[in-house]
Protein backbone atom coordinates (compact mmCIF):
# COMPACT_ATOMS: atom_id res chain seq x y z
CA UNK A 1 0.00 0.00 0.00
CA UNK A 2 2.59 2.47 -1.10
CA UNK A 3 0.04 5.15 -1.96
CA UNK A 4 -0.62 5.75 1.72
CA UNK A 5 2.95 6.94 2.13
CA UNK A 6 2.31 9.80 -0.27
CA UNK A 7 2.08 13.28 1.25
CA UNK A 8 -1.50 13.73 0.02
CA UNK A 9 -2.89 11.69 2.93
CA UNK A 10 -0.75 13.35 5.58
CA UNK A 11 -3.44 15.84 6.68
CA UNK A 12 -5.78 12.94 7.41
CA UNK A 13 -3.22 11.32 9.69
CA UNK A 14 -2.68 14.65 11.41
CA UNK A 15 -6.40 15.10 11.93
CA UNK A 16 -6.67 11.58 13.36
CA UNK A 17 -3.96 12.32 15.85
CA UNK A 18 -5.60 15.58 16.80
CA UNK A 19 -9.03 14.08 17.40
CA UNK A 20 -8.17 11.46 20.01
CA UNK A 21 -5.44 12.08 22.54
CA UNK A 22 -3.88 8.71 23.20
CA UNK A 23 -3.74 8.15 26.99
CA UNK A 24 -0.64 5.97 26.70
CA UNK A 25 1.15 8.66 24.70
CA UNK A 26 0.16 11.15 27.40
CA UNK A 27 1.62 9.00 30.20
CA UNK A 28 4.79 8.31 28.22
CA UNK A 29 5.17 11.99 27.44
CA UNK A 30 4.69 12.93 31.10
CA UNK A 31 7.25 10.37 32.26
CA UNK A 32 9.80 11.55 29.70
CA UNK A 33 9.21 15.18 30.69
CA UNK A 34 9.67 14.31 34.38
CA UNK A 35 12.91 12.43 33.64
CA UNK A 36 14.31 15.32 31.64
CA UNK A 37 13.22 17.71 34.39
CA UNK A 38 14.95 15.51 36.97
CA UNK A 39 18.16 15.41 34.96
CA UNK A 40 18.22 19.14 34.17
CA UNK A 41 16.69 20.84 37.19
CA UNK A 42 17.01 18.15 39.89
CA UNK A 43 20.60 18.88 40.93
CA UNK A 44 19.86 22.63 41.13
CA UNK A 45 16.83 22.41 43.40
CA UNK A 46 18.39 19.90 45.81
CA UNK A 47 21.23 22.26 46.70
CA UNK A 48 23.81 19.53 47.19
CA UNK A 49 26.84 18.46 45.19
CA UNK A 50 26.69 14.94 43.77
CA UNK A 51 30.29 14.10 44.66
CA UNK A 52 31.04 15.79 47.96
CA UNK A 53 29.56 14.14 51.00
CA UNK A 54 28.77 15.25 54.52
CA UNK A 55 30.44 12.46 56.49
CA UNK A 56 28.61 13.42 59.71
CA UNK A 57 25.28 12.60 58.04
CA UNK A 58 26.34 9.38 56.28
CA UNK A 59 23.92 6.49 55.80
CA UNK A 60 20.82 8.37 56.93
CA UNK A 61 17.28 7.53 55.95
CA UNK A 62 14.92 9.92 54.10
CA UNK A 63 14.37 13.29 55.79
CA UNK A 64 13.27 16.81 54.87
CA UNK A 65 16.89 17.74 54.19
CA UNK A 66 17.70 14.60 52.21
CA UNK A 67 14.57 13.34 50.40
CA UNK A 68 15.99 9.89 49.73
CA UNK A 69 18.59 9.88 52.51
CA UNK A 70 22.37 9.84 52.14
CA UNK A 71 24.81 7.16 51.04
CA UNK A 72 27.75 5.67 52.97
CA UNK A 73 29.83 8.79 52.28
CA UNK A 74 27.06 11.22 53.26
CA UNK A 75 26.21 12.24 49.69
CA UNK A 76 22.61 13.16 48.91
CA UNK A 77 20.97 10.24 47.08
CA UNK A 78 18.38 12.36 45.26
CA UNK A 79 21.11 14.62 43.86
CA UNK A 80 23.20 11.66 42.76
CA UNK A 81 20.23 10.04 41.04
CA UNK A 82 19.39 13.32 39.30
CA UNK A 83 22.96 13.90 38.14
CA UNK A 84 23.23 10.21 37.24
CA UNK A 85 20.16 10.56 35.02
CA UNK A 86 22.21 12.67 32.61
CA UNK A 87 24.73 9.92 31.94
CA UNK A 88 22.24 7.06 32.24
CA UNK A 89 19.80 8.60 29.77
CA UNK A 90 22.18 10.20 27.26
CA UNK A 91 24.68 7.34 26.85
CA UNK A 92 22.11 4.80 25.57
CA UNK A 93 20.67 7.48 23.25
CA UNK A 94 24.12 7.96 21.73
CA UNK A 95 24.47 4.18 21.33
CA UNK A 96 21.12 3.77 19.63
CA UNK A 97 21.63 6.76 17.32
CA UNK A 98 25.02 5.43 16.14
CA UNK A 99 23.63 1.92 15.72
CA UNK A 100 20.57 3.19 13.82
CA UNK A 101 22.70 5.32 11.49
CA UNK A 102 25.07 2.47 10.70
CA UNK A 103 22.21 -0.02 10.32
CA UNK A 104 20.31 2.29 7.96
CA UNK A 105 23.32 2.77 5.70
CA UNK A 106 24.07 -0.98 5.67
CA UNK A 107 20.44 -1.90 4.94
CA UNK A 108 20.21 0.71 2.20
CA UNK A 109 23.43 -0.39 0.53
CA UNK A 110 22.67 -4.09 0.84
CA UNK A 111 19.13 -3.84 -0.52
CA UNK A 112 20.05 -1.40 -3.27
CA UNK A 113 22.89 -3.44 -4.74
CA UNK A 114 21.73 -6.94 -3.72
CA UNK A 115 23.88 -9.85 -4.91
CA UNK A 116 27.26 -10.34 -3.30
CA UNK A 117 27.16 -6.95 -1.51
CA UNK A 118 23.99 -8.07 0.26
CA UNK A 119 25.56 -11.46 1.06
CA UNK A 120 28.74 -9.91 2.45
CA UNK A 121 26.87 -7.43 4.65
CA UNK A 122 24.44 -10.08 5.93
CA UNK A 123 27.33 -12.45 6.74
CA UNK A 124 29.21 -9.71 8.60
CA UNK A 125 26.11 -8.91 10.61
CA UNK A 126 25.63 -12.60 11.42
CA UNK A 127 29.11 -12.67 12.94
CA UNK A 128 28.39 -9.64 15.12
CA UNK A 129 25.08 -11.27 16.01
CA UNK A 130 27.04 -14.26 17.39
CA UNK A 131 28.14 -12.02 20.26
CA UNK A 132 25.48 -11.27 22.87
CA UNK A 133 25.54 -7.47 23.39
CA UNK A 134 26.68 -7.58 27.01
CA UNK A 135 29.51 -10.00 26.14
CA UNK A 136 30.62 -7.69 23.32
CA UNK A 137 30.74 -4.75 25.73
CA UNK A 138 32.67 -6.75 28.34
CA UNK A 139 35.26 -7.84 25.76
CA UNK A 140 35.65 -4.19 24.74
CA UNK A 141 36.29 -3.28 28.38
CA UNK A 142 38.89 -6.04 28.67
CA UNK A 143 40.65 -4.45 25.70
CA UNK A 144 40.31 -0.73 26.38
CA UNK A 145 39.95 -0.69 30.15
CA UNK A 146 37.07 0.37 32.39
CA UNK A 147 35.03 3.45 31.57
CA UNK A 148 31.93 4.45 29.66
CA UNK A 149 33.45 5.00 26.18
CA UNK A 150 34.39 1.41 25.35
CA UNK A 151 30.96 -0.07 26.25
CA UNK A 152 29.10 2.72 24.41
CA UNK A 153 31.03 2.04 21.21
CA UNK A 154 30.79 -1.73 21.68
CA UNK A 155 27.03 -1.65 22.24
CA UNK A 156 26.58 0.65 19.22
CA UNK A 157 28.19 -2.09 17.12
CA UNK A 158 26.43 -4.95 18.90
CA UNK A 159 22.97 -3.47 18.26
CA UNK A 160 23.55 -2.89 14.53
CA UNK A 161 22.45 -6.41 13.43
CA UNK A 162 19.13 -6.17 15.26
CA UNK A 163 18.32 -2.83 13.61
CA UNK A 164 19.81 -3.67 10.23
CA UNK A 165 17.80 -6.88 9.89
CA UNK A 166 14.41 -5.23 10.20
CA UNK A 167 15.53 -2.28 8.08
CA UNK A 168 16.83 -4.60 5.36
CA UNK A 169 13.60 -6.56 5.20
CA UNK A 170 11.63 -3.35 4.61
CA UNK A 171 14.16 -1.93 2.17
CA UNK A 172 14.16 -5.16 0.17
CA UNK A 173 10.39 -5.15 -0.01
CA UNK A 174 10.27 -1.52 -1.15
CA UNK A 175 13.27 -1.84 -3.45
CA UNK A 176 11.18 -3.12 -6.35
CA UNK A 177 8.03 -1.16 -5.55
CA UNK A 178 6.50 0.85 -8.37
CA UNK A 179 7.52 4.25 -7.00
CA UNK A 180 11.19 3.29 -6.82
CA UNK A 181 11.17 1.87 -10.35
CA UNK A 182 9.35 5.00 -11.51
CA UNK A 183 12.03 7.18 -9.98
CA UNK A 184 14.76 5.24 -11.74
CA UNK A 185 12.85 5.28 -15.04
CA UNK A 186 12.47 9.05 -14.82
CA UNK A 187 16.23 9.18 -14.95
CA UNK A 188 16.83 10.32 -11.40
CA UNK A 189 20.29 9.57 -10.04
CA UNK A 190 20.31 6.23 -8.14
CA UNK A 191 21.69 7.92 -5.04
CA UNK A 192 18.79 10.38 -5.15
CA UNK A 193 16.17 7.63 -5.50
CA UNK A 194 17.82 5.63 -2.71
CA UNK A 195 18.12 8.52 -0.29
CA UNK A 196 15.03 10.60 -1.08
CA UNK A 197 12.57 7.76 -1.75
CA UNK A 198 13.79 4.43 -0.38
CA UNK A 199 15.27 5.78 2.86
CA UNK A 200 12.03 7.34 4.20
CA UNK A 201 10.21 4.00 3.79
CA UNK A 202 12.63 2.44 6.28
CA UNK A 203 12.12 5.13 8.89
CA UNK A 204 9.06 3.70 10.73
CA UNK A 205 10.57 0.24 11.39
CA UNK A 206 13.88 1.73 12.44
CA UNK A 207 12.11 4.12 14.79
CA UNK A 208 10.19 1.26 16.43
CA UNK A 209 13.21 -1.02 16.74
CA UNK A 210 15.47 1.80 17.99
CA UNK A 211 12.95 2.69 20.70
CA UNK A 212 12.96 -0.92 21.94
CA UNK A 213 16.76 -0.99 21.74
CA UNK A 214 16.98 2.16 23.87
CA UNK A 215 15.52 0.33 26.86
CA UNK A 216 17.80 -2.68 26.56
CA UNK A 217 20.80 -0.42 25.91
CA UNK A 218 20.06 1.57 29.07
CA UNK A 219 19.77 -1.70 30.99
CA UNK A 220 23.03 -3.05 29.53
CA UNK A 221 25.01 0.13 30.21
CA UNK A 222 23.72 0.46 33.76
CA UNK A 223 24.47 -3.25 34.22
CA UNK A 224 28.06 -2.72 33.16
CA UNK A 225 28.37 0.09 35.69
CA UNK A 226 26.70 -2.16 38.26
CA UNK A 227 29.52 -4.65 37.66
CA UNK A 228 31.99 -1.86 38.43
CA UNK A 229 33.36 -1.92 34.88
CA UNK A 230 31.64 1.17 33.46
CA UNK A 231 31.32 4.56 35.10
CA UNK A 232 33.91 4.83 37.86
CA UNK A 233 33.40 6.41 41.30
CA UNK A 234 32.83 9.09 42.41
CA UNK A 235 30.78 9.88 39.26
CA UNK A 236 27.07 9.20 39.79
CA UNK A 237 25.24 6.79 37.48
CA UNK A 238 22.12 4.69 38.12
CA UNK A 239 23.74 1.28 37.67
CA UNK A 240 26.72 2.07 39.87
CA UNK A 241 24.38 3.56 42.49
CA UNK A 242 22.46 0.26 42.62
CA UNK A 243 25.80 -1.47 43.13
CA UNK A 244 27.04 0.95 45.82
CA UNK A 245 23.67 0.71 47.55
CA UNK A 246 23.88 -3.05 48.09
CA UNK A 247 25.70 -2.81 51.42
CA UNK A 248 23.28 -0.19 52.73
CA UNK A 249 20.38 -2.33 51.52
CA UNK A 250 21.52 -5.27 53.65
CA UNK A 251 21.85 -2.84 56.59
CA UNK A 252 18.25 -1.69 56.20
CA UNK A 253 18.71 1.47 54.05
CA UNK A 254 17.41 0.39 50.66
CA UNK A 255 16.94 3.90 49.18
CA UNK A 256 20.29 4.15 47.42
CA UNK A 257 19.74 0.89 45.52
CA UNK A 258 15.99 1.14 44.98
CA UNK A 259 15.53 4.76 43.85
CA UNK A 260 17.82 4.57 40.79
CA UNK A 261 16.54 1.02 40.20
CA UNK A 262 12.99 2.37 40.09
CA UNK A 263 14.07 5.13 37.69
CA UNK A 264 15.58 2.50 35.35
CA UNK A 265 12.37 0.44 35.39
CA UNK A 266 10.13 3.47 34.82
CA UNK A 267 12.25 4.70 31.91
CA UNK A 268 12.35 1.30 30.23
CA UNK A 269 8.59 0.78 30.66
CA UNK A 270 7.93 4.22 29.15
CA UNK A 271 10.10 3.52 26.11
CA UNK A 272 8.61 0.04 25.63
CA UNK A 273 5.12 1.56 25.61
CA UNK A 274 6.29 4.17 23.12
CA UNK A 275 7.71 1.41 20.89
CA UNK A 276 4.39 -0.41 21.09
CA UNK A 277 2.59 2.74 19.89
CA UNK A 278 5.02 3.10 16.99
CA UNK A 279 4.47 -0.54 16.05
CA UNK A 280 0.69 -0.04 16.17
CA UNK A 281 0.92 2.97 13.89
CA UNK A 282 3.07 0.93 11.47
CA UNK A 283 0.43 -1.79 11.37
CA UNK A 284 -2.27 0.77 10.70
CA UNK A 285 -0.33 2.24 7.79
CA UNK A 286 0.10 -1.24 6.31
Amino acid sequence: MTTLALPSVLPRGARERFRSVDPVALVVGAVCALLVLLAVVGPMISGYDSQTGDILHAGEGPSAAHWFGTDALGRDIFTRAAVGARLSLVAPAVCVLIAAAVATVLALVSSWFGGWVDTAITRGLDIVFAFPSLLFALIAIAIFGTGITAPVIALSIAYVPYLARVARVTARRERHAAYITAGTLQGLAPSRVAIRHLLPSMFPVIRTQATIMYGSCLTDLAGISFLGLGVQPPVAEWGSMVNEGRTALLDGHPEEALFPGLLIVVTVVAFNLLAERFALREDRVK
Binding site: L135, L138, I143, G223, N243, R246, G261
Partner: protein
Protein backbone atom coordinates in the same frame (compact mmCIF):
# COMPACT_ATOMS: atom_id res chain seq x y z
CA UNK B 1 20.92 -15.21 3.00
CA UNK B 2 22.71 -16.42 -0.07
CA UNK B 3 23.34 -20.11 0.12
CA UNK B 4 24.12 -22.40 -2.78
CA UNK B 5 20.42 -23.20 -3.12
CA UNK B 6 18.67 -21.00 -5.62
CA UNK B 7 14.93 -20.58 -5.99
CA UNK B 8 13.44 -22.61 -8.82
CA UNK B 9 12.77 -19.51 -10.90
CA UNK B 10 16.43 -18.55 -10.89
CA UNK B 11 17.47 -21.97 -12.13
CA UNK B 12 15.35 -21.80 -15.26
CA UNK B 13 16.40 -18.27 -16.03
CA UNK B 14 20.09 -19.18 -15.85
CA UNK B 15 19.43 -22.07 -18.21
CA UNK B 16 17.61 -19.77 -20.61
CA UNK B 17 20.46 -17.35 -20.63
CA UNK B 18 22.94 -20.16 -21.21
CA UNK B 19 21.06 -20.68 -24.47
CA UNK B 20 21.04 -24.46 -24.21
CA UNK B 21 24.79 -24.70 -23.86
CA UNK B 22 25.58 -27.33 -21.24
CA UNK B 23 22.29 -27.30 -19.34
CA UNK B 24 22.52 -30.85 -18.07
CA UNK B 25 25.83 -30.37 -16.28
CA UNK B 26 24.69 -27.01 -14.92
CA UNK B 27 21.49 -28.53 -13.65
CA UNK B 28 23.39 -31.43 -12.06
CA UNK B 29 25.69 -28.97 -10.34
CA UNK B 30 22.78 -26.99 -8.98
CA UNK B 31 21.03 -30.15 -7.87
CA UNK B 32 24.07 -31.32 -5.96
CA UNK B 33 24.45 -27.83 -4.51
CA UNK B 34 20.89 -28.06 -3.31
CA UNK B 35 21.58 -31.43 -1.68
CA UNK B 36 24.59 -29.97 0.06
CA UNK B 37 22.68 -26.91 1.25
CA UNK B 38 21.67 -28.36 4.64
CA UNK B 39 25.31 -29.29 5.28
CA UNK B 40 26.32 -25.70 4.56
CA UNK B 41 23.46 -24.14 6.49
CA UNK B 42 23.64 -26.24 9.65
CA UNK B 43 27.26 -27.38 9.82
CA UNK B 44 29.74 -25.36 7.78
CA UNK B 45 28.26 -21.89 8.21
CA UNK B 46 27.99 -22.13 12.02
CA UNK B 47 31.53 -23.51 12.17
CA UNK B 48 32.78 -20.67 9.99
CA UNK B 49 30.99 -18.12 12.19
CA UNK B 50 32.58 -19.63 15.31
CA UNK B 51 36.01 -19.63 13.66
CA UNK B 52 35.78 -15.96 12.64
CA UNK B 53 34.38 -15.01 16.04
CA UNK B 54 37.26 -16.83 17.77
CA UNK B 55 39.74 -14.94 15.59
CA UNK B 56 38.03 -11.62 16.37
CA UNK B 57 38.20 -12.30 20.12
CA UNK B 58 41.81 -13.50 20.02
CA UNK B 59 43.28 -10.75 17.84
CA UNK B 60 41.30 -7.97 19.51
CA UNK B 61 42.62 -8.99 22.91
CA UNK B 62 46.14 -9.64 21.61
CA UNK B 63 46.28 -6.15 20.12
CA UNK B 64 44.82 -4.53 23.24
CA UNK B 65 46.81 -1.62 24.60
CA UNK B 66 48.45 -2.63 27.86
CA UNK B 67 50.99 -5.23 28.80
CA UNK B 68 49.75 -8.77 29.46
CA UNK B 69 52.89 -9.41 31.51
CA UNK B 70 52.58 -6.27 33.66
CA UNK B 71 51.38 -8.11 36.74
CA UNK B 72 53.74 -11.08 36.36
CA UNK B 73 56.77 -8.81 35.93
CA UNK B 74 56.12 -6.75 39.05
CA UNK B 75 57.16 -3.16 39.53
CA UNK B 76 60.79 -3.44 38.38
CA UNK B 77 60.80 -5.35 35.10
CA UNK B 78 64.11 -6.12 33.45
CA UNK B 79 64.63 -7.01 29.84
CA UNK B 80 65.84 -10.48 30.80
CA UNK B 81 62.86 -11.35 32.98
CA UNK B 82 60.51 -10.08 30.26
CA UNK B 83 62.24 -12.20 27.64
CA UNK B 84 62.06 -15.24 29.92
CA UNK B 85 58.34 -14.80 30.57
CA UNK B 86 57.59 -14.06 26.92
CA UNK B 87 59.29 -17.32 25.99
CA UNK B 88 57.45 -19.17 28.76
CA UNK B 89 53.99 -18.02 27.64
CA UNK B 90 54.87 -18.12 23.93
CA UNK B 91 54.32 -14.38 23.49
CA UNK B 92 57.54 -14.05 21.45
CA UNK B 93 55.99 -15.91 18.53
CA UNK B 94 54.15 -14.18 15.66
CA UNK B 95 50.48 -13.48 16.44
CA UNK B 96 49.16 -15.85 13.79
CA UNK B 97 51.22 -18.70 15.23
CA UNK B 98 49.95 -17.82 18.71
CA UNK B 99 46.36 -17.88 17.44
CA UNK B 100 46.74 -21.22 15.71
CA UNK B 101 48.36 -22.86 18.71
CA UNK B 102 45.66 -21.38 20.98
CA UNK B 103 42.96 -22.69 18.66
CA UNK B 104 44.44 -26.19 18.47
CA UNK B 105 44.81 -26.14 22.25
CA UNK B 106 41.14 -25.19 22.63
CA UNK B 107 40.12 -28.07 20.36
CA UNK B 108 42.05 -30.38 22.70
CA UNK B 109 40.46 -28.89 25.79
CA UNK B 110 43.44 -26.69 26.72
CA UNK B 111 42.41 -23.06 27.08
CA UNK B 112 45.88 -21.71 27.77
CA UNK B 113 47.43 -20.29 30.90
CA UNK B 114 46.19 -17.36 32.92
CA UNK B 115 49.23 -15.17 33.50
CA UNK B 116 47.43 -13.16 36.18
CA UNK B 117 46.22 -16.19 38.16
CA UNK B 118 49.29 -18.34 37.37
CA UNK B 119 47.11 -21.36 36.61
CA UNK B 120 45.68 -23.12 33.58
CA UNK B 121 42.44 -21.47 32.49
CA UNK B 122 40.60 -24.79 32.37
CA UNK B 123 41.42 -25.48 36.03
CA UNK B 124 39.83 -22.10 36.86
CA UNK B 125 36.77 -22.55 34.66
CA UNK B 126 35.90 -26.21 35.25
CA UNK B 127 34.79 -26.05 38.91
CA UNK B 128 32.67 -22.96 38.20
CA UNK B 129 30.76 -24.33 35.20
CA UNK B 130 28.41 -26.48 37.29
CA UNK B 131 27.38 -23.52 39.49
CA UNK B 132 26.53 -21.36 36.48
CA UNK B 133 24.82 -24.21 34.65
CA UNK B 134 22.58 -24.97 37.62
CA UNK B 135 21.72 -21.28 37.96
CA UNK B 136 20.93 -20.97 34.23
CA UNK B 137 18.95 -24.24 34.18
CA UNK B 138 16.96 -23.17 37.24
CA UNK B 139 16.24 -19.76 35.71
CA UNK B 140 15.47 -21.35 32.33
CA UNK B 141 12.84 -23.60 33.87
CA UNK B 142 11.32 -20.59 35.63
CA UNK B 143 11.29 -18.59 32.36
CA UNK B 144 9.60 -21.31 30.33
CA UNK B 145 7.14 -22.49 32.99
CA UNK B 146 6.29 -19.02 34.28
CA UNK B 147 6.20 -17.39 30.85
CA UNK B 148 4.07 -20.05 29.19
CA UNK B 149 1.76 -20.50 32.17
CA UNK B 150 1.02 -16.79 32.40
CA UNK B 151 0.63 -16.51 28.62
CA UNK B 152 -1.85 -19.42 28.53
CA UNK B 153 -3.74 -18.18 31.60
CA UNK B 154 -3.91 -14.64 30.22
CA UNK B 155 -5.33 -15.94 26.94
CA UNK B 156 -7.71 -18.62 28.21
CA UNK B 157 -8.98 -16.90 31.39
CA UNK B 158 -10.15 -13.54 30.08
CA UNK B 159 -10.40 -11.65 33.44
CA UNK B 160 -6.70 -12.34 34.12
CA UNK B 161 -5.65 -10.72 30.83
CA UNK B 162 -5.13 -7.13 32.01
CA UNK B 163 -3.23 -8.30 35.12
CA UNK B 164 -0.85 -10.40 33.02
CA UNK B 165 -0.39 -7.45 30.64
CA UNK B 166 0.60 -5.05 33.39
CA UNK B 167 2.81 -7.49 35.32
CA UNK B 168 4.68 -8.63 32.21
CA UNK B 169 5.11 -5.05 30.96
CA UNK B 170 6.79 -4.12 34.24
CA UNK B 171 8.67 -7.41 34.56
CA UNK B 172 10.24 -7.08 31.14
CA UNK B 173 11.70 -3.72 32.19
CA UNK B 174 13.25 -4.92 35.45
CA UNK B 175 16.98 -5.57 35.02
CA UNK B 176 18.38 -8.54 36.97
CA UNK B 177 20.46 -6.30 39.27
CA UNK B 178 17.41 -4.26 40.26
CA UNK B 179 15.39 -7.44 40.78
CA UNK B 180 18.25 -8.75 42.94
CA UNK B 181 18.02 -5.68 45.19
CA UNK B 182 14.26 -5.89 45.56
CA UNK B 183 14.31 -9.65 46.21
CA UNK B 184 17.11 -9.29 48.78
CA UNK B 185 15.16 -6.60 50.57
CA UNK B 186 11.95 -8.64 50.65
CA UNK B 187 13.11 -12.20 51.24
CA UNK B 188 16.46 -11.74 52.99
CA UNK B 189 16.03 -8.61 55.11
CA UNK B 190 12.29 -8.44 55.76
CA UNK B 191 11.27 -12.09 55.80
CA UNK B 192 14.61 -13.81 56.35
CA UNK B 193 13.59 -16.78 54.20
CA UNK B 194 16.71 -17.00 52.05
CA UNK B 195 20.46 -16.49 52.52
CA UNK B 196 21.92 -13.25 51.11
CA UNK B 197 25.04 -14.63 49.45
CA UNK B 198 26.73 -17.76 48.14
CA UNK B 199 25.81 -20.79 46.06
CA UNK B 200 25.50 -23.53 48.71
CA UNK B 201 26.76 -27.14 48.71
CA UNK B 202 24.85 -30.28 47.82
CA UNK B 203 21.72 -30.41 45.66
CA UNK B 204 19.08 -29.25 48.15
CA UNK B 205 21.19 -26.50 49.64
CA UNK B 206 22.22 -25.29 46.18
CA UNK B 207 18.63 -25.09 44.99
CA UNK B 208 17.80 -23.19 48.16
CA UNK B 209 20.70 -20.76 47.69
CA UNK B 210 20.06 -20.29 43.98
CA UNK B 211 16.32 -19.60 44.26
CA UNK B 212 16.54 -15.82 44.56
CA UNK B 213 19.32 -15.47 41.94
CA UNK B 214 17.33 -17.66 39.54
CA UNK B 215 14.20 -15.57 40.04
CA UNK B 216 16.18 -12.35 39.54
CA UNK B 217 17.66 -13.76 36.34
CA UNK B 218 14.34 -15.14 35.07
CA UNK B 219 12.06 -12.11 35.58
CA UNK B 220 12.99 -10.20 32.42
CA UNK B 221 12.94 -13.07 29.95
CA UNK B 222 9.98 -14.79 31.62
CA UNK B 223 7.93 -11.62 31.18
CA UNK B 224 9.11 -11.26 27.60
CA UNK B 225 8.17 -14.88 26.83
CA UNK B 226 4.79 -14.23 28.40
CA UNK B 227 4.24 -11.19 26.16
CA UNK B 228 5.41 -12.90 22.98
CA UNK B 229 3.54 -16.10 23.78
CA UNK B 230 0.33 -14.25 24.48
CA UNK B 231 0.53 -12.18 21.33
CA UNK B 232 1.12 -15.37 19.30
CA UNK B 233 -1.68 -17.29 21.02
CA UNK B 234 -4.13 -14.43 20.59
CA UNK B 235 -3.28 -14.02 16.92
CA UNK B 236 -3.62 -17.73 16.23
CA UNK B 237 -6.88 -18.18 18.15
CA UNK B 238 -8.52 -15.52 15.97
CA UNK B 239 -7.61 -17.32 12.76
CA UNK B 240 -10.29 -18.80 10.53
CA UNK B 241 -9.09 -22.39 10.70
CA UNK B 242 -9.38 -22.25 14.49
CA UNK B 243 -12.94 -21.02 14.20
CA UNK B 244 -13.65 -23.83 11.73
CA UNK B 245 -12.22 -26.35 14.16
CA UNK B 246 -14.43 -24.96 16.91
CA UNK B 247 -17.46 -25.00 14.63
CA UNK B 248 -16.78 -28.65 13.86
CA UNK B 249 -17.34 -29.31 17.56
CA UNK B 250 -13.78 -30.16 18.61
CA UNK B 251 -13.16 -29.71 22.31
CA UNK B 252 -11.55 -26.48 23.44
CA UNK B 253 -8.45 -28.37 24.63
CA UNK B 254 -7.95 -30.11 21.31
CA UNK B 255 -8.41 -26.90 19.36
CA UNK B 256 -5.91 -25.17 21.62
CA UNK B 257 -3.28 -27.89 21.38
CA UNK B 258 -3.58 -28.82 17.72
CA UNK B 259 -4.54 -25.58 16.04
CA UNK B 260 -3.44 -22.72 18.27
CA UNK B 261 -0.37 -23.89 20.16
CA UNK B 262 1.37 -25.55 17.24
CA UNK B 263 1.10 -22.45 15.06
CA UNK B 264 2.14 -20.20 17.92
CA UNK B 265 5.14 -22.41 18.64
CA UNK B 266 7.64 -20.66 16.34
CA UNK B 267 7.89 -17.34 18.23
CA UNK B 268 7.66 -19.16 21.58
CA UNK B 269 10.55 -21.49 20.73
CA UNK B 270 12.56 -18.58 19.34
CA UNK B 271 12.25 -16.52 22.49
CA UNK B 272 12.92 -19.54 24.73
CA UNK B 273 16.16 -20.36 22.91
CA UNK B 274 17.33 -16.74 22.89
CA UNK B 275 16.45 -16.59 26.57
CA UNK B 276 18.81 -19.46 27.38
CA UNK B 277 21.68 -17.66 25.65
CA UNK B 278 20.81 -14.38 27.36
CA UNK B 279 20.55 -16.08 30.75
CA UNK B 280 24.12 -17.37 30.46
CA UNK B 281 25.38 -13.84 29.78
CA UNK B 282 23.03 -12.37 32.37
CA UNK B 283 24.57 -14.73 34.93
CA UNK B 284 27.56 -12.33 35.06
CA UNK B 285 25.36 -9.70 36.66
CA UNK B 286 23.34 -11.99 38.93
CA UNK B 287 26.36 -13.91 40.21
CA UNK B 288 28.05 -10.63 41.07
CA UNK B 289 24.91 -9.35 42.80
CA UNK B 290 24.51 -12.46 44.94
CA UNK B 291 28.20 -13.16 45.55
CA UNK B 292 28.11 -16.50 43.72
CA UNK B 293 31.49 -17.81 42.59
CA UNK B 294 30.51 -19.00 39.10
CA UNK B 295 31.63 -18.55 35.52
CA UNK B 296 29.90 -15.16 35.26
CA UNK B 297 31.53 -13.51 38.25
CA UNK B 298 34.83 -15.14 37.23
CA UNK B 299 34.46 -13.49 33.82
CA UNK B 300 33.84 -10.08 35.39
CA UNK B 301 36.96 -10.47 37.56
CA UNK B 302 38.97 -11.57 34.52
CA UNK B 303 37.80 -8.51 32.56
CA UNK B 304 38.75 -6.07 35.30
CA UNK B 305 42.11 -7.83 35.95
CA UNK B 306 42.96 -7.89 32.24
CA UNK B 307 43.32 -11.66 32.50
CA UNK B 308 43.29 -12.06 28.72
CA UNK B 309 43.51 -15.87 28.54
CA UNK B 310 40.47 -16.27 30.79
CA UNK B 311 38.48 -13.60 28.92
CA UNK B 312 39.27 -15.35 25.63
CA UNK B 313 38.22 -18.74 26.96
CA UNK B 314 34.90 -17.65 28.48
CA UNK B 315 34.03 -15.42 25.49
CA UNK B 316 34.70 -18.29 23.12
CA UNK B 317 32.54 -20.66 25.17
CA UNK B 318 29.69 -18.14 25.17
CA UNK B 319 29.96 -17.45 21.45
CA UNK B 320 30.02 -21.17 20.64
CA UNK B 321 26.96 -21.66 22.82
CA UNK B 322 25.17 -18.75 21.16
CA UNK B 323 25.94 -20.00 17.64
CA UNK B 324 24.89 -23.56 18.54
CA UNK B 325 21.63 -22.28 19.96
CA UNK B 326 20.76 -20.10 16.97
CA UNK B 327 21.62 -22.95 14.60
CA UNK B 328 19.50 -25.41 16.56
CA UNK B 329 16.75 -22.80 16.56
CA UNK B 330 16.90 -22.52 12.78
CA UNK B 331 16.63 -26.32 12.49
CA UNK B 332 13.70 -26.48 14.92
CA UNK B 333 11.93 -23.72 13.00
CA UNK B 334 11.94 -25.77 9.82
CA UNK B 335 10.55 -28.76 11.73
CA UNK B 336 7.75 -26.69 13.23
CA UNK B 337 6.91 -24.72 10.14
CA UNK B 338 7.78 -26.27 6.76
CA UNK B 339 7.25 -22.88 5.12
CA UNK B 340 10.53 -21.76 6.69
CA UNK B 341 12.55 -24.40 4.79
CA UNK B 342 13.72 -21.82 2.29
CA UNK B 343 17.05 -20.62 3.68
CA UNK B 344 16.86 -17.33 5.43
CA UNK B 345 13.09 -17.22 5.71
CA UNK B 346 13.34 -17.48 9.48
CA UNK B 347 15.33 -14.32 9.72
Amino acid sequence: MATPTLPAGTVTSTDDRAGGGPPSSGRALLASARRLAPLWRWVLLPLLTMLIASAVVFFALALAPGDPLAQALGSHPTAESRALLEAKYGLDRPLVVQYLSWLSGVLHGDFGTSIVQKASVWSLIAPRISVTLSLVAYAGVLVVVGGLASATLGTMVKPLGPLVTVVSAIGVAVPAYVAASVLSLLFVIQLGWFPALGAGDGLGDRLYHLTLPAIALAIGWGSYLSQVGRAALREESDREHVETARARGLSAGTVFRRHVLRNAAVPIVTVSALAVAALVVGATVVETAFGIDGLGSFFVTAVSNKDYASVEAVSLLLVVLFVLLTTALDAVHTLLDPRLRTPGASR
